[in-house]
């Protein structure tokens, strides 16, 4: 296999593994802040304990998630150089500062205050600790801001000039706030909110099914349901806007997503098809007439450009077509489940124990649904930019590694083995922590609460 293909696969493996963790931690950081805030504000002692318990349990999940995000992120920062040495040589003047600001303003902020946030309760004041929690949450968001600024710039480059084949910055405002950046940032933040929400929902439901849930799990479940019910429709709207933006700037990506070969007026929405790049047609089409034009152009007879207008420079159709459908399908499922779940929970008078068993099974089954949608979405974005690394300007093949393909193959295999093992371990440990959360750290909290109010105050104030 050739080095380019292997380098792409290796990089894809890495970003796939890496994105799992930020997609949780961006929103989970803010959720922790919410739990922390509810704990501070709660007047009822039992509620105070519940929110504290939620905070502590999910802090551990955050720590684990963050650690895996860091180590895979460090790996990625090296792979820019090892896999795409030509990328930095050509685009370094623009990509460099953006990456640099990510490390300087986000990475250090998170890493610096994480220690205080995780282990510092007993050593710093309440407000300082709250401040550290805010800064960690803010840091993860800043990280997303810079990385998405760079990624969006690669999709819709702006504010640059090319001198002797090298990119130079003309306007940093145009570079950072390039045409697709706002859509992409909102889309990612909402994706994280949904991923995090379904993790909260799924784990709480699992705890109830296993008979290890406490009142704390009930509060977490309700928080997750409300978050998902709000974020899911917002994501649909944001996704629609993002799609329109993509149509404007990267029509070939939309053509591939929709599986449209010939430029068509009143293009149908394909629910199912197997696009065939070689034959330049689709097999087994199942279509809704005019719907694609209606969605994308808000006009049933609007004209959509087909792939044949972009000879030899359009992305591979099959993976894009299906990634998009998986993303949207999962999104719709999330919307339905969160709304039905919330309605049901409300009808039960917010009584967790009345939640029907099949509903809990669906919740638990969808614990990692956010991962599926996020990864599929990233594939749409990243594969959709091919064969370019910077849309329309720099081809991926031109910046690939000069390292022998055997080296890349060996390291690819190593990464895949390590990543799969860690993924299994991560999910296994989340499950284990969910099942033992109560026994381990809080077994006697309620008891001491009943008997000795002083003990509770100590717990309550992180003394």
């Amino acid at each position: 296999m050739d080095a380019l293909f292997l380098a792409r696969m290796q990089f894809a493996a890495n970003i796939t593994f890496h994105i799992l963790f930020p997609s949780i931690s961006i929103a989970l950081g803010w959720m922790l802040l919410f739990f922390r805030f509810k704990h501070l504000r709660a007047a009822d002692p039992q509620q105070k304990i519940d929110w504290l318990r939620a905070y502590r349990h999910w802090t551990k999940v955050f720590a684990l998630t963050f650690a895996l995000g860091v180590v895979s992120g460090v790996t990625m920062s090296f792979q820019f150089g090892t896999n795409w040495p030509g990328y930095m040589e050509r685009v370094g003047n623009i990509a460099g500062p953006l990456l640099g600001y990510e490390v300087l303003t986000a990475f250090f902020l998170e890493a610096g205050f994480l220690g205080v946030m995780l282990f510092g309760h007993r050593r710093v004041g309440e407000m300082v600790h709250l401040g550290a929690t805010i800064l960690v949450a803010f840091g993860t968001l800043m990280s997303a801001f810079w990385i998405l600024a760079l990624n969006s710039w690669m999709q819709t480059p702006a504010g640059y000039e090319i001198v002797n084949g090298q990119f130079h910055a003309r306007s940093w405002l145009e570079i950072i706030f390039n045409p697709s950046f706002p859509y992409r940032l909102v889309h990612m933040v909402l994706a994280s909110a949904l991923t995090c929400a379904f993790l909260l929902i799924g784990v709480s439901a699992w705890q109830l099914m296993k008979g290890v849930a406490t009142a704390s799990a009930s509060r977490v479940l309700r928080t997750g349901l409300v978050l998902a019910a709000l974020a899911a429709p917002a994501q649909m709207v944001a996704g629609d806007f993002h799609g329109l933006n993509t149509l404007k700037h990267q029509p070939q990506k939309i053509a591939a997503v929709e599986g449209i070969w010939e430029t068509t007026r009143g293009a149908p929405l394909l629910l199912f098809a197997i696009p065939d790049d070689a034959a330049r047609t689709n097999h087994f089409e199942l279509a809704v007439p005019k719907l694609a034009s209606l969605i994308l152009l808000h006009d049933p007879d609007g004209e959509l450009k087909g792939l044949n207008e972009f000879p030899s420079a359009h992305p591979p159709v099959l993976p894009l077509f299906w990634s998009f459908r998986i993303m949207v399908g999962t999104g719709i499922l999330m919307l339905l489940v969160s709304w039905i779940g919330l309605w049901r929970h409300w009808r039960d008078g917010w009584d967790f124990a009345k939640m029907p068993r099949p509903m809990l099974r669906i919740f638990a089954g969808m614990t990692f649904s956010g991962w599926v949608a996020t990864i599929a979405g990233w594939y749409v974005t990243e594969i959709g930019r091919q064969p370019f690394i910077v849309s329309g300007l720099v081809r991926t093949a031109d910046v690939a590694s000069r390292v022998p393909s055997s080296s890349i193959a060996v390291t690819f295999a190593i990464y895949v083995v390590v990543y799969l093992a860690l993924l299994v371990a991560y999910v296994g440990v989340l499950k284990y922590m969910a099942e033992t959360a109560d026994k381990e750290s809080y077994g006697n909290v309620s008891a001491s609460l009943a008997g000795e109010p002083q003990d509770y105050r100590r717990e309550g104030e992180f003394a």
Partner: protein, 334 residues
């Protein structure tokens, strides 16, 4: 000496920043990698204390590597491609080591108790793998990625010496951060790691000029030799003092911080020596800082960010060390 324009000075500022980042990385991740490697000599309870001593810091420590490599990537893209292509396999293995270590650090206390032993082993193995790879990479880098029979031996020697230096640094960190039986053990570990570290440093100091003619000329011509001789002499005195203090009873009391501080000084001196040897190359004898640098405009943009954020980073890093000052107590999420 002709004066340089600001645009010509910029690459020098950035190579300096990069060097400082990597120095901070080597010292800070050095001690926590060292603690990781020493865990194979400790009991399960001692392991918990050892991990607790580095727990609040390792994340931020590793970030300096990202900044160092990031600056190489950002400020010297040509060198970045060259260096990382040459070091492709050891870089990957180092990353695998760091991945295993970072993951195991968190998993060991969260997974089933019966799995803790396995995660501890992975933590130790990851620390060793990362250290050995960094040694090998340093050796290859210092010798300008030369080809020939002597180069792999040189890189191999450093691949052994650097983990020893980390182990010594980690052991003296524990002398400072722990007390009781574990502190006693840490003193013993320091004494064991001291001779190989000193031997390694001497070997490198002798072999580097032998491997590279550029370095030879730098160090062994008059009058430079008189001026720069202060570096190895001071380092030698510091290392001897470390050994003396380790042997005295004061190391269990008021002077527990001294060996660690002196070793940091030795690392700083080694860094200065190395910088002196290499300047003004990014890749010795092949690529100067000016040849490898990005455009002045981009460097200026990052420099603004560095000037604003670096003092803040230093301040909150200091804050974090102050919060967790003193002897290590058990870590819990509270």
């Amino acid at each position: 000496m002709t004066s340089m324009s600001f645009d010509e000075v910029l690459p020098l500022i950035f190579i300096g920043l990069m060097g400082v980042s990597l120095l901070v990385y080597v010292v800070s991740d050095g001690y926590d990698l060292g603690v990781g490697m020493l865990m194979h000599r400790a009991t399960p309870e001692e392991r918990d204390t050892m991990v607790a001593s580095i727990g609040p810091f390792w994340d931020a420590n590793e970030t300096w590597l990202v900044l160092g490599v990031g600056l190489l990537l950002i400020a010297f893209p040509k060198a970045h491609g060259l260096v990382l292509s040459e070091l492709y396999l050891p870089t990957t293995l180092m990353l695998v080591g760091l991945i295993l270590r970072g993951a195991a650090f968190d998993f060991r206390v969260k997974a089933k108790a019966s799995r803790k032993e396995m995660w501890d082993r992975l933590f130790i193995a990851g620390s060793m793998l990362a250290s050995v790879c960094q040694g090998w990479m340093l050796g290859r880098y210092v010798s300008g990625f030369g080809e020939g029979w002597n180069y792999p031996i040189f890189a191999g020697a450093i691949a052994i010496a650097l983990p020893m230096a980390y182990a010594l640094l980690g052991a003296t960190w524990l002398v400072m951060k722990t007390d009781g039986a574990l502190q006693g053990k840490a003193i013993e570990w320091s004494k064991i790691a001291w001779p190989p570290m000193v031997f390694g440093l001497i070997l490198i100091s002798m072999a580097t000029p032998w491997i590279s003619e550029t370095v030879r000329e730098r160090w062994f011509t008059l009058p430079a030799i008189i001026a720069v001789a202060s570096i190895p002499v001071t380092a030698g005195i510091a290392l001897l003092t470390v050994r003396v203090v380790l042997g005295s009873s004061a190391v269990r009391g008021a002077l527990c911080w001294l060996p660690f501080a002196l070793l940091v000084l030795v690392f700083l001196l080694s860094f200065l020596g190395l910088s002196y040897s290499i300047y003004p190359f990014v890749v010795i004898d092949r690529l100067t800082v000016w040849e490898a640098a990005s455009s002045p405009d981009s460097l200026k943009i990052i420099l603004i960010g560095v000037c604003v954020t670096l003092p803040v980073i230093v301040a909150y890093t200091g804050f974090s060390y102050r919060v967790f000052r003193g002897k290590t107590i058990e870590l819990d999420y509270a």
